[in-house]
Subunit: 110 residues, 2 copies
DNA sequence: TTGACACGAAACCAAAAGGTGTTATATATT
DNA sequence: AATATATAACACCTTTTGGTTTCGTGTCAA
């Protein structure tokens, strides 16, 4: 077993809507577990678990400050998702506009 | 219950590695259930379930041809994922522009 | 030092996910 | 018409997920 025996990857991490909401929260600013919990109708423990999963997926990281643990977003891993997406992007762009590629040769604008 | 009582969304659909592999297969060409099953170490029934979930998420669609059901990719829904991603993109581009060496490694060969 | 506070860890639970096999039904082939 | 085939529809099993509660520990403040 390699050292990267990672139980949760990015895809699983973002599968849960609560975790996606947590990410949105942390995108704005660093927050403690209790502060995050305040935004959701569930227990602190549940949120802590979600944060653990997000942490495993390298989407957030937490540092202890006093008796608090403050989490912030670490969006690097989303790049893996982006690359995965880009693989399919060519397909839906190509397929949806077979004629279009004649017109716009390489308009990498959007 | 509204008509859009959709059990699986895109995020859940792509959370499973088997389903991501199925998407890659279908990206290349349309395939029947049996053909898809041939690529995986599991039963046809299991694959059919995965296809059902992918279908719910509007990532694939199947049409009956004779006694076969052939599935093809329907990548429109990935756009939702792309939009979700783009929200965070600004963060990691702004915040982590210093760590650009990661991005610069991007050799889109495979 | 005492007590409130923020957190971690563990035990537990219900429901969903992911798989199996069997049976039924419609379609092709002969 | 008979048979083989591709899939759908079930029933079932096991593991994972997402939540709970309880208890213990370190930290801050009075």
């Amino acid at each position: 077993m390699s050292a990267s025996a990672q139980k949760h990857d990015v895809f699983q991490a973002i599968a849960d809507p609560t975790r996606r909401d947590i990410l949105k929260l942390l995108a704005e600013k660093e927050l403690s577990i209790l502060e995050i919990t305040g935004h959701f109708p569930m227990s602190r423990t549940a949120i802590a678990k979600h944060l653990h999963i997000l942490s495993e997926a390298k989407l957030v990281n937490g540092r202890k400050i006093g008796r608090e643990k403050r989490f912030r977003i670490q969006p690097d891993s989303l790049d893996e998702l982006k690359q995965w997406l880009s693989y399919f992007e060519q397909f839906w762009h190509n397929k949806l506009s077979i004629l279009k590629h004649i017109v716009e040769n390489q308009n990498e604008k959007d």
